[in-house]
Each structure stands twice: as structure tokens, then as C-alpha cells.
Amino acid sequence: MKWLLFILMLNLVGCAGWGVNPWDRDLMAQKSMQFGAESVDEAYTDHIYFSKEGSSGGSGFSGGGCGCN
């Protein structure tokens, strides 16, 4: 019974390790994982969105999260 309880509790913390490490972005950084096919067009749309809404992101990325490309 104790073990069962332990396993159940373990399930509760199953999502605690969520999030992708910068070095694990391998698959997500690939072109096929982007929403749009044309990256320049995507960047343009994102720029307009940023200037209108004051926020950006959420539309995929190709970099490693350093904010420099």
C-alpha cells in the first residue's frame, strides 16, 4: 500500500521537470518544426505583431535561445 501511494505521489510530480533545455532543442530547431514555410515572411509577421502587441514569440524558433540570431 505504501508503495502504491509512493508511485501515485510520484505521478503528481511527473510534470515538475517540464521545459526544454537549450541543448535539447535539436528537433524543435529544425525547419520542419516551424509553423510557416517562409522564414523571412514569418519574421516579418512576427515583427509587426511585436510592434502592435508589444509581445513576441510563440510561433516557433530556429535558434538556441541565446537571442542573437
Partner: protein, 141 residues
Amino acid sequence: MKVLLSFLILWSVSAPAQPTLEEHRGKVIYLDFWASWCTPCLASFPWLNQIHEKYKSKNFTVVGVNLDKKREKADDFLSSQPANFPLVFDPEGKLPTKYKVEGMPYSVILDEQGKVIHRHIGFDIAKTAEYQKAIEEVLKK
């Protein structure tokens, strides 16, 4: 229990060797974390080759830590952009966890004792003078 124990023993014996920087200990190390899918990493390689060549006689080395999950991807990258400095392959991400990598590429300068002296995120060709200054400061100590 015996089965579990023998499984654990077998697992630990068959586990691949952990990536380590031991063979470079005693040198000033410019640790560069890179992967084949990271565009600025590609841009940083010519400069990394250059600084490795420039300072290697001063007890300095660049060590590139590749973080690709598949070795073939790293090899493809290296065939188009060769690295003239030592490389460590760390698909499991042990070293970036240890050095708290926050983005890619990521660079850490370690002194002779392995202490972190400087770190920066990303690679900007306009900031190479700044990176070089940080290396020279560690080498002067």
C-alpha cells in the same frame, strides 16, 4: 533483488564513458557548447579556430562540447566546418548541466584549476574583441 542488482551492475559496466575535461586540466580552457542545428555556432567556428591557434602556446585550449543527440549530425557539420581544437561529445548533456548553459552557443572560460572565470551566451562577431579580452585577462593571472 538479485536480478535488479545484476541489471544495475550490467548497466553501469555497459554505460558509455562520461564526457570529461580531465585531459585538459591545468590549462586555461575556453569551453564552447555547440550543436549542428545552432546557426551562430557555425559562425563562431572560424574565430574559435583562430583563438585556439593564437593562444595554444600559452597553456590555453579551446574545447568544443558537441551536444547533438546523433553523432552523424555533428560529423556532417564538422565536414563542412572543421574544428582545429579538441572536441568532446556529450549527447546526454552532462557538461551543460554542470556549467548551467542557458542558450546556444554558450561559452565558459575556466582557469587552470577549473574555476569558472567568465561566461557569455551567444556569439556575436562584433563582440569578439570583448571575448578575446576576457581570455587575455585569465591568461595574465
